[in-house]
């Protein structure tokens, strides 16, 4: 069961992959099918239920794209 939840402000994402790099569960990836307003593939979560809400992704995101919630 997901202890955490991540919400993306997708149009702010610059596709830098810093979040995907630091997620301990490697559940973040760039959505290569999407192009956002800025012209980048935005980050997205692949297995939301594995999110532990550790917020490491949010802390590393230079563009404050991610909000994190936890039980």
């Amino acid at each position: 069961m997901a202890k955490g939840k991540v919400v993306f402000n997708e149009d702010r994402c610059k596709g830098c992959e810093l979040c995907t790099t630091v997620c301990p569960n490697k559940i973040l990836t760039l959505d290569t099918k999407k192009i956002n307003k800025l012209g980048y593939h935005p980050a997205t979560v692949t297995n939301p239920e594995e999110c532990i809400g550790c917020a490491l992704c949010a802390r590393m995101c230079p563009d404050c794209v991610i909000e994190v919630y936890r039980e």
Partner: protein
């Protein structure tokens, strides 16, 4: 579910002009968090440098002044002396602070101006297209050190935190990095402390933040984090060089 991480109120809700993966953005957020946590937004005045962060005034929900290249500490001095109860911080790059602005930072520090200086060392001139900075590492190639920095001709990269720590007046001087979540947490503590020192002790505080410039380093953002870890940290050791007396 409770929010465990949300955008700090003092960080303006806009898209920045920074390149993808540029850690200037992380540092901005840490400053905004410190301002929020200390609840000082309404009396904080920021001073932006000339450098990639020249538009910083757009990214914080606080009053701001844009300084001439290198002169942010002098501008901050003017503000602080005019408004002693304000909280004044400068945000400066390594070209800005460690090159053209050397005299201004040394003397603001020496005077013990009650300001907070966030010094972003990315070992390069980002904004102007990747020229050598005084902090550029030995052998590092830049657009004005195309054969790699030759320390015989240009000297060694300058360690400002150490240099300024020889002065009597500064109350807090630290070097941190933002290339991993753990380092980001450390950086956050240091930055908050640097504001506290201003608010509580009316002292000078400086945090040197090792930061990346994926664009001019010619590296993907993730690799840039590694390059920082492997090349910058060994030369620019992290740590607190000066801490307020009572906490020593």
């Amino acid at each position: 579910m409770k929010p465990v991480f949300t955008r700090p109120r003092s960080l303006a809700d806009v898209t920045t002009h920074y390149c993808p993966g540029c850690t200037h953005g992380i540092i901005h957020r840490l400053i905004a968090e410190a301002i929020d946590e200390l609840d000082i937004a309404e009396r904080t005045i920021g001073v932006a440098p000339v450098g990639c962060s020249v538009l910083a005034y757009n990214y914080f929900n606080v009053d701001f002044q844009e300084a001439a290249h290198g002169r942010a500490p002098a501008v901050a001095t003017g503000i602080k002396r005019a408004l002693p109860d304000s909280v004044v911080f400068t945000y400066q790059g390594d070209g800005d602070l460690a090159s053209i602005g050397t005299a201004e930072i040394v003397h603001a520090a020496n005077r013990g101006e009650a300001i907070t200086v966030i010094y972003v060392n990315n070992a390069i001139y980002g904004m102007t297209g990747g020229q050598m900075a005084p902090t550029t590492l030995a052998g590092q190639k830049t657009t004005t050190s195309p054969y790699g920095r030759d320390v015989k001709l240009c000297g060694y990269p300058i360690r400002m935190a150490e240099l300024l720590s020889t002065l009597v007046a500064p109350r807090y001087i630290a070097r941190v990095a933002v290339n991993s979540p753990a380092h980001v947490q450390q950086a956050k503590r240091a930055i908050k402390r640097a504001f506290e020192v201003q608010v509580n002790d009316r002292g000078f505080a400086l945090v040197e933040v090792l930061s990346t410039c994926p664009t001019n380093w010619g590296l993907p953002p993730k690799k840039a984090l590694e390059w920082l870890e492997e090349n910058m940290i060994p030369y620019y050791p992290l740590g607190e060089f000066k801490v307020p007396k009572e906490a020593e």
